[in-house]
Symmetry: C3
Subunit: 646 residues, 3 copies
């Protein structure tokens, strides 16, 4: 490991049974020995609490810790994550084991930080339907609402005679003949995320109590929806996530391209990098970097030669301060035998080892990312839209990425922040949807625009209140004055319908959109796009721009296809004075961090880069091979352009 340039070794994330073979009998010998070796070779240790896999003896003693499916079926021991976040029994056991571990290594200089548990919520385990959860949910609701009358009012339970007579009647969602009440579903999502937050805090507090110098982190997942990372982040010092590019792209799209099967989609990857960097507004870690082929995607393709190296640099360019590979050596047993490691099953070097070693040699210290643009993201919008998508292909994360891709095509760095974040430092803000909107948020966005900010809003904005009820004024509800227009109609758009808008200026420019269309009524704002296909909505307004104070806001009522996203964002960036490159081809991405410029080629054709000026190359040069990268000195932005050599 040391030869490979590895600095940190993370381990023990599922090792409860070897650490505590029977209740109270701990065995640290093996771990001490490994830690010793790691220290000897100048590396440092990140330990994990082993709570993601309670051992059989614990389950046998306290079976009430097990989760239940919505229909009541117990989720048994035999894989992992078979515990309920609200189980008092499991909280006791977790506290006990974390305390023993923390105390054991409190004074060990080789241990520098801890990962709590592992991938909270993986395998659909955020939401549990056991009795402990039913009871905890009732308590949570009592906490949120002063009276059952308030609850009925907030949720809106008159519909279908769903009023609660008493808090005791409040229950977790059970199997019902028809759909769930959306406000119950939203609050159950909040409660479930809060349960994880509370469980994580329990661990974090013990670890900090033992050694306040340790960093405490957790490894989040790709576009993971059921746990609010911003909330969990409040109890963490460092955010990390697990990156599996060739797997995640297969989850994201029906048919990944050949290049994506070999190296993933750069925007999907960096969206996660940017999100997890933004949670604490500081560098993050990739805690698990795909080391080769992996076991769980539909197809387990081999990454392209050099892809593991490219990913390490790409993460760094977006703010990673460490890239940790999972796993060191292919495991001979159990569920993940088909998951590559840096070393093969016989211990010899695998493809990822060579990539990782080269990357380790090339990586260098660099300041943090400084992004001029913020993209607003709120897990609660994902939950509300997930419960009532109103179109089979309306996926919250894809909508975010439609706008995100528009930003990244201009080579501009972007933070992905909660709407409550201070927007002061940003020149432009893109909100793909502000679905659940309050007056307070409207005021803050208005203030941002008034003081010269440029704001781009996407569809379904201002549609619902914070409880998931319709606003009583028409959409965009509390944002109406800001937008200068209202939504007369919305519809979901199946593929067989025309989905074309054109610019209202005289440029004769048409754009495709998808999935969602709102027919706008401008009231003060300027129409900038109108429907222009062969459809009943032709001539209706699809987007408007409204000037407010020193800035302006664009409301786009459709889900933009890439060309529209690029152009809409481009205008916003231009007005906001944000420096940007020429529009980049989809497989090529540019990122800036700490005075360097990364140009990364995720495609199978070589490219050539024109820096337009004097910049010198720190790594590589202007010709970049497939799945390779170059790094230029300096913040090269304006006019940087790329040509694909086919």
């Amino acid at each position: 490991m040391a030869d490979a340039g590895i600095e940190y070794v993370r381990m023990a994330e599922f090792s409860w049974r070897v650490l505590e073979p029977e209740r109270g009998e701990f065995d640290f010998e093996w771990l001490d020995e490994i830690i010793g070796l790691i220290g000897e070779y100048g590396m440092e240790v990140v330990l994990c609490t082993p709570t993601a896999a309670p051992p059989r003896w614990l389950v046998a003693e306290r079976p009430e810790i097990l989760q239940r499916d919505r229909d009541g079926t117990v989720r048994s021991v035999g894989s992992r994550r078979h515990y309920c976040f609200n189980s008092e029994a499991y909280r006791e056991e977790s506290e006990r084991v974390v305390r023993v571990l923390a105390e054991r290594y409190a004074d060990d200089p080789r241990v520098v930080g801890w990962q709590t548990d592992n991938e909270y919520g993986c395998h659909g385990t955020t939401r549990c339907y056991c009795d402990d959860c039913a009871s905890a949910f009732r308590s949570w609701v009592r906490q949120e609402y002063d009276s059952v009358a308030d609850l009925n009012d907030a949720w809106g339970t008159t519909f279908w005679s769903q009023q609660y007579d008493d808090f005791e009647q409040v229950d977790i969602p059970r199997p019902t003949p028809a759909q769930d009440h959306p406000s119950l579903a939203l609050d159950f999502a909040r409660f479930s995320s809060d349960s994880v937050v509370e469980y994580n805090r329990l661990q974090a507090d013990i670890l900090r109590g033992a050694n306040d110098d340790w960093f405490v982190t957790h490894n989040f997942m790709n576009l993971f929806e059921s746990v609010d990372a911003y909330d969990v982040g409040e109890d963490l010092d460092l955010i990390s996530w697990d990156s599996y590019p060739t797997g995640h792209v297969q989850q994201a799209v029906d048919e990944a391209s050949t290049d994506e099967l070999r190296a993933g989609n750069p925007d999907l990857l960096s969206f996660n990098h940017d999100l997890y960097r933004s949670v604490l507004d500081r560098p993050f870690w990739v805690m698990e970097q795909q080391p080769g082929d992996v076991n769980w995607p539909p197809h387990s393709t081999q990454p392209a030669p050099g892809a593991m190296r490219l990913w390490a640099h790409h993460a760094t360019a977006h703010g990673a301060d460490a890239v940790v590979y999972f796993r060191w050596r292919r495991c001979l047993e159990g569920q993940e035998q088909y998951h590559a490691g840096l070393r093969k099953q016989d211990g010899s070097a695998d493809r990822g080892y060579h990539d990782a070693t080269q990357a380790a040699e090339e990586l260098f210290d660099v300041d943090d990312v400084d992004a001029p643009v913020a993209l607003l993201h709120d897990y609660e919008n994902a939950w509300a839209l997930g419960e009532q998508p109103h179109a089979p292909d309306f996926d919250y994360w894809q909508l975010l990425q439609a706008f995100y891709g528009g930003i990244r095509s201009h080579g501009v760095q972007v933070d992905i922040v909660h709407p409550d974040t201070s927007l002061e430092s940003y020149d432009a803000v893109v909100a793909p949807t502000v679905h659940l909107a309050t007056a307070q948020l409207a005021d803050r966005l208005t203030a941002f625009v008034e003081s010269g900010g440029e704001l781009l809003l996407g569809p379904r904005t201002g549609h619902k209140d914070e409880y998931g009820k319709l606003a009583s004024s028409v959409q965009p509800g509390p944002l109406t004055d800001l937008v200068g227009a209202t939504v007369d109609q919305h519809e979901s758009v199946p593929p067989q319908l025309e989905a074309t808008v054109s610019r209202t200026d005289d440029t004769q420019t048409w754009y495709a959109f998808r999935t969602w269309a709102e027919w706008l009524e401008a009231d003060g704002a300027q129409p900038i796009l109108e429907y222009d296909g062969d459809a009943v909505e032709d001539g209706r307004t699809a987007a408007v721009r409204n000037r407010i104070g020193e800035g302006s806001v664009v409301y786009c009522g459709v889900w933009p296809e890439p060309d529209l996203a690029v152009d809409l964002v481009g205008s916003v960036l231009e007005r906001a004075g944000v420096r940007r490159s020429a529009v980049l081809p989809g497989g090529v991405r540019v990122a800036h961090r700490g005075g360097y410029t990364w140009v990364m080629n995720f495609g199978s054709d070589p490219i050539t880069v024109d820096l337009t000026g004097e910049a010198s190359w720190r790594l590589g040069d202007e010709t970049i091979d497939p799945f390779d990268l170059s790094i230029a000195d300096g913040d090269v932005v304006d006019g940087l352009s790329v040509r694909i050599l086919e």
Copy 2:
């Protein structure tokens, strides 16, 4: 509402909890106030019994009312329809609440009628698997069969050692390794439908007992299979149904056309109109007319401009005496927030309001529909074929519509009646399938033909007895003499097989068919179609015509594609002397009622109509815009033709 021309206000269909906030404490103040206002403005009230949504306090007190899924999972409170039709507890509670309501408004002149419950069976709730149902099913079976020996004989239980030793062993269908016994499944379907009938009768009797002048209705659903509307209808004075054209068409076909996404499919709509008109052979109501975009279809498209008006006229042309919109105003809370109303969430007029207002101005009083043709439909055939479709795409309702579309293409009105209905008044009868056939039915059909009727029979006719067993003679069993042919073989036809027949006359005419093929052996009848593709059945007979007495019968052994359906039906109509228009394009329909002729354009291109004579236009004229209609004075039929202006 009054301004909009509304005459009836239907309400309170899910209002149990506001009517009875706690057991025995009723609150009528709010309802009285609304009824007062309605009366003041000259409108009338249709009330609904609120039983489709038992409140939480009732469920908490008597949880045994809840339904169970087949695997035993309880269907909990939290949406609607969470009650079992066979629950004695729920029957008591229903009786109680309906009695209180009925007595309260028995003498109120503003209340003119009642809707029982709401959409019986919606969300798959006709069939329940609770203990009450198991016990009720045993009683039902005892009622139907004199002894367990009779039961064994009727169902045929020797197969796979399924004999019952005792009535006590009779059970509702439970999870089993292999398929259900089809005769058990058929009787369980009958029992489940009968349970709804009995439950509805309990309500209807109470309502009539309170005020015999009230009409009692229920709102049925699109092509709804599990409840026999003819049976329920026997306890009703008025049949109504809930029409959602852009939603229903998405349920009916894999990919609706652009026009269908905007205005629905006219034949799918009018099939329902004709069915529900025929149940009591009198005008029906549309109790819920789609008012704009709605929440539940896969895609929520916006109806075309004018579509809501077109639907109102279309319903009228097929025998509706009222079109009631659901809902007045978009609801701010709960599961149906994405369901439009005539008014928006802020109370302002929505698109449907304008259409509805215009329609209200244009509608006029008119006599009932008088149809020269009957289409035979029996829910029991749907149940038997649904249990053993023998082809993945054999859907009973689609088969009915294949023949129905053939009739409607000729501009001819059709009743959709149970085979037990008197056929005397019809010139022609089309039976897309007489799957479960008895000798009595064979005799009645024979008598119809002998006395000059023209009969068209579709495939899978005469295949099974009333218990769902094979006839012991070959198909068409008891109809063999009538048909003059037998079925030598049948097969289901996947898309990759040739599916072509040709006429046996010298016209060199080929037709496509789908899904089902029977190889016929004529025995007295004349072959009129033979298989003629590139297939093993080439040369075998696909359809025959048999003359019996004054009339004739055509047996068609294949599921016809549209051209074949149009031509088969056309010949039948011609022989039957039924007046008909030129063959109409699919998006244009003509309907006659009470001396008027409606020409309706469900397409996005304008059309021009040639009335061939002197008729004058009551509404519109011979040029009809997209999604518009015209109404001519008089019964214009022969030779009426339409041209699409593209």
Copy 3:
């Protein structure tokens, strides 16, 4: 029956309730009468134990015999196979009823053999999740492993803290959040198959105890995976299987061709024939031959004219000594009404009757098949690969057939044998995958090659040990020396990736492959194929050939499409000196048995056969109609060629 040339009548396979209408009261009158008639007409009787359908009275008395689904749902009475193989109660009852039947007919000369039960495992019933199974599985595991430490070691349970502390913790697979442990899954599959073996032995022993002259058989199914037929076969005297060509082909491929819908796929059929012949290395029976259209495939197409006759000859050519049709007459009741018989529901002759009668006249006595080639098959590989396929379309049986089709295209007979079988008598051995590999097996294969055998190995060979763990050396693990190469990488190949290899000689020959690719490192062996598309693996080795002693081994790292399979196999056969025909078109097959040569046309075009010499025709001649066959005297192999007449 006798008129039709029928010699054996098999019956009573689901007749428990008519044989024993109530506990202990047996009624043999009806059966005696039928046996009497059969004897009178010179036919013989094969009886079946009726255990596949326990009657309702038994279930009512002893409900603990019922199976449970994995989530605990009881599989109730109401279809068939609703019993657990590990139920002590059911074993008692089975023993009781089998003993009574066996004793009753022990001395009856007309009864010549017995079929145990019926289609073990049909409808997913091999694996049960009841308490009896949990307990039996614990005992089975105790039997297999000396200690819980051994168990932990063998399965590899350290992963995810899955160690067992005690045998009492061992459990059947229950619902879990994530995947099952693959070694648990593999042993549960073994246990479940063993449970069937044990249950079958219980019946077989009783039958043999009553009359040792009886043959005892069981009717297996098409490509049936969950029961190890080799193991069950050890307690049987005769293997039989149930052949439904037009149904099985629809299960095997997404879209069957027109010809396959009419006559099935000859290689899919003969794969089963060859497998079941090989189990006991003696002639087998087809116990259920499809007689016409059947009820259970997606589409119930009519077999081509003559198909039933063709299937009878085809089975004979592959070693069948009897072809028994299911069923004699179409059943009027129950779940299989849509299943044809040789006679129609009214008792008249159906299509299959004529085919069967003609076949009976043409069939003749002949010696057994003598195959020069063995194809290795091990159910345990199917179980291991089924648990971790690592590609959505990696189906073990399809992989076997990819290689099998290559063999059959050369007109060569092949045994399908367990890897433990002696390979001495074979000239060539094809192992489509030796997935679970031991050193012993490696030694045996090496000995085969050293002594002059030609061996062809397919992908995923040598990947895992017998417990389902990865080999600690890289693939092919214990076979590395034999192969002379290792697998550097493997990947699964989605359709959008290039999948082309070319020969390393100078023939400029390209081949397509699918689904799976291994990048080989030759170490002593000669590369014979390399990747050659437009992909990252271009130039890597895809297949090697290694000479060992007198023979050689080819390792093919990809799943071959047909052209590659034919050419790979062709070279192996040539080196092995196996006589072969010209490459046959897909719809035409040649088979040799006992000195005769069958040429069979499964296509809809006529063919002409060139025998290249003096052979005479026993049946038919060189021109063969669609779905027809000819039989030549003598073993005509070399150079036999076929031309399709289109």
